[in-house]
Subunit: 312 residues, 4 copies
């Protein structure tokens, strides 16, 4: 079944909020998200800033201990104007460099503005116009920055951070075609979505991607009785596990551990096989290194899994 | 001029050691390296383990404050047998998972053995033979794990770690065709090379790639009066800066700061241009997350630099 | 006014929960807390484990942007039996040491039991009885491990962690006689208290102090219009600021920054004075190094503040 | 035997340098150190800056695998003028705070000057004279900031950092009366001493204590066949183990692991006894949080060891 849902309120925490819609295993939701500052498809501020979330959606039969699979059928900007932070975040630069260059950062709250061309699938820097890169143009690569299911224990957690339930991860492969697997902590899972980016460099190191409102279509599926500890995902080419923590070292520990479990529990590899395969084939990618929790992604190519005969 | 150099002794530190050969700007060196355990092309242990280095090579005219450019003309395994660690390093896993799974790691010092097919350019796991992945075969992707120039202040630093001078970085793009730029701290730069890997996953998370002896051909060039703070490099497709430190967060700060300097100082971008470009286009990759210092690589596509007209 | 409050329900998150009692500026609350596993003064489990909190208490007139001062009039164990974790947490040990010693940790969930002598003010280890330290006896030093006010944005956050609002900090000077200052995020502040420890080493490195139910008496005061960013506190001898984050380096940054602000904003020191004083007089102490966020405390002696004439 | 040694050259690395004096087990050395900038007891710069070290001293019979015990008989400033850094290091402050306050740090290289009164045992700030703390006076608490034995593998490591061999640790209890135990890596141990501080706050957070030249008297002892992994020490009241690394979390792991080993191997505690004792009695203190490696000290009271009968 396809649900068309028009949001009327938003949450800046991911939590055990009142569901806005009940859906079933296999259902599709077509909806929209506002941008990180609460601006909609007309670039009008309709809700307070802070990665406001659409939802939560209650998925029937999803219970604590299950896994919720969410396929991103379509994620796409739905307006002409996006914006970005203008300066590198001080936490991604050497502290001494920050001290010595800070004088030039007096307009640190000013943003850059970008114009979308949704036909040519590009974004072009239009303000400021006087920098060395001029009308800098990039191909769009739309992704969701912040989304998740309700965390454990009835928690409600700020959309500025992340954890085992998802949150503000800003990982580039949370894009159309990707499937994300969530541990379910609350009855109905309570799925939230928000914070679309038209483009984003690794790490979200200016504190933003090209922030913009989105059209979102997703399809949900409940995997009964399957328990995972951290987000997992799947693209055309890879499986991946997501760890969220600071320092990055700890995020990497979470992601690597989840992947080691996955290979052994789901794909039946013995420990030496799993460790040896990861040792010579693992890939890492970085999500957010801006927020209180950083995001590390641990990936394995599906071609490798096919080669060893554990997927078709 | 091409120098053919056959090493007779090796160093397990990178330091102000007696040079084994004097070369000039533009010269090429053809030599060999032993594997991480000091085993040569006949798989004979000829020197103590610990990433033994060939060299150092004294490059005429390279003085402190200059930059040394080293092009990796050819890096290739030169024997049939390589080996890898058998278990994930405990520092890349959740501490609680290590505690709970440690019982099965009793043979933690045992290695896996791989057979090279240098015609088909593959490595095949031959020992242990009884794991779920059987005779697991991977394409070769040879790279140097540990190399560098003499560090500042007359230091001699263990080949188990890394710093602004290079060291044990284990980054996959230190491969044939890459150029690496080093800050020069000692007269003659004193270049060391060693620790070849036939294949390696990101992070070197079992503590090894497929460790093997190498044939190495490199060409050196001195860039007088140019001072850099951390290693830089160039592949066909990217420029990159390397940060080495723990935690990864700090390695990322070093690498990002060096890239921000690079874009502004060498390519003439103003601060807003450099920061905005990095914000939406930066890529990160991970070197070693096994050693006392971890390695983070900050990359920008050359196609982006071409688009803004700062390279041809 | 003195309120005697007997709790009937508990929360394992600190959040915007329904207040159990409204109190006024200057009021005193006399109440009790259960232990970390939800066991009361009769050692009966009456609520689920997870540092259950008594409260929240609504303090009239406390509004976002104000500061809430809470004086710990009396914190004391109120039963004869306490318990501790039996093994060092794996995150406070070298990863390789954990791997190599983990075999002996098979009963990691077993606890130690301690008997209180509330007259002699001691705790004595009674189970296991067969270790080298036998009936090991320590003087009591009662403290609250976990408490706080409702966090920003309507959040509800697990009592396993901490932040600017307080939480599970496990710092030894949260004891009788100490005053704690909280930033107020919610109307009424919504104060929660729980997790008493009869004794605790720095860092709570076995994951517990001597966990026990408490009698608690506190007096609250509202400081209108005063805004702080992290918890502050005051003992007979010191002022202190508390930072909560991982890694400890970041917790230290938060605590040091809050102290630097305090000296300049509240005590009128110029920047050179504040920095120079901290440089030669600062003291650090460690709270929890067990939880997702670690706790660092930055202290200055009151005798120093008296010497420079900024306090009486 | 007492050796009076007048240094004529200094090292800014700790390494396998030519010994300046050979001494025997039980011998005492009376010597001097210059300050961190290479200035002697007349405040004259006689050697380059960078924590220049006196020595190394070769201790007969000390061999790799032994432990060297060094008793600090007397550590005392020997001139009237000391200096300190004027601003908090940017790495101990929140990155955003650094960015926002950096404008006022334009004279970041300027130092403060302090006058010693060696009769009254005080230091008084004399320059700048116009801050809110005026002629701020502190009691002396002399300590050695940087010292160590030659590291493993023939390494020579900058006096800006630290490791298992010692180095720049800046811990306040490296003072008169303390005994320090070093793992021996080189024949003769090769002891270096330098970097006296008349006073220092925890962490050395302005990058300096009150830096000054010192009179140093030490007595050495060789403990044959005893192997330790990190520095240990002993004061009148405590035993302690020292971990050096970043982040602080890792330094804490090293120190805690060394202490757990110590209690079990040297004092014969079983694992549950050692872990339980540490859990409720451990104390942590912070050395340097300024350098590439941070320093964490893990302490246990001797009174506790006496109570359980493992020391007299």
């Amino acid at each position: 079944m396809i649900h068309h849902f028009t949001p009327t309120r938003y949450h800046v925490t991911i939590g055990w909020h009142e569901p806005v819609l009940h859906v079933k295993d296999g259902d599709t939701i077509v909806t929209t998200t506002v941008d990180a500052r609460g601006r909609d498809h007309t670039d009008t501020a309709i809700t307070p800033r802070g990665n406001p979330q659409t939802g939560p959606f209650y998925v029937e039969d999803a219970e604590p201990g299950d896994t919720l699979a969410v396929h991103f059928d379509r994620l796409a900007p739905n307006r002409a104007i996006g914006w970005t932070g203008r300066y590198l975040a001080p936490n991604v630069l050497d502290p001494g460099y920050v001290r010595n260059t800070a004088e030039s950062l007096s307009d640190a709250k000013t943003v850059c503005r970008w114009e979308m061309d949704l036909d040519r699938w590009t974004a072009t820097l239009i303000d400021p116009a006087d920098t060395r890169i001029g009308r800098f143009t990039l191909s769009l690569s739309p992704m969701l920055g912040c989304f998740g299911v309700a965390p454990s224990l009835g928690q409600a957690i700020s959309c500025a951070t992340s954890g085992p339930y998802g949150g503000n991860m800003d990982y580039k492969d949370f894009k159309t075609g990707t499937t994300v697997y969530f541990p379910v902590f609350a009855p109905g899972a309570l799925l939230h979505v928000g914070d679309g980016h038209a483009v984003q460099g690794d790490g979200e190191i200016v504190g933003t991607g090209i922030e913009i409102s989105f059209d979102v279509q997703i399809t949900v599926r409940v995997i009964k009785g399957k328990t995972i500890e951290w987000l997992r995902g799947e693209t055309d080419t890879h499986i991946f596990a997501v760890g969220n923590a600071r320092p990055l070292d700890q995020a990497l520990q979470h992601a690597t551990t989840e992947m080691a479990r996955w290979l052994q529990t789901d794909y039946g590899l013995d420990q030496v096989a799993a460790h040896t395969l990861l040792g010579q084939c693992v890939e890492y990618e970085i999500g957010n290194v801006y927020d209180p929790a950083y995001t590390m992604v641990c990936k394995v190519k599906k071609s490798i899994l096919r080669q060893i005969g554990v997927i078709a």
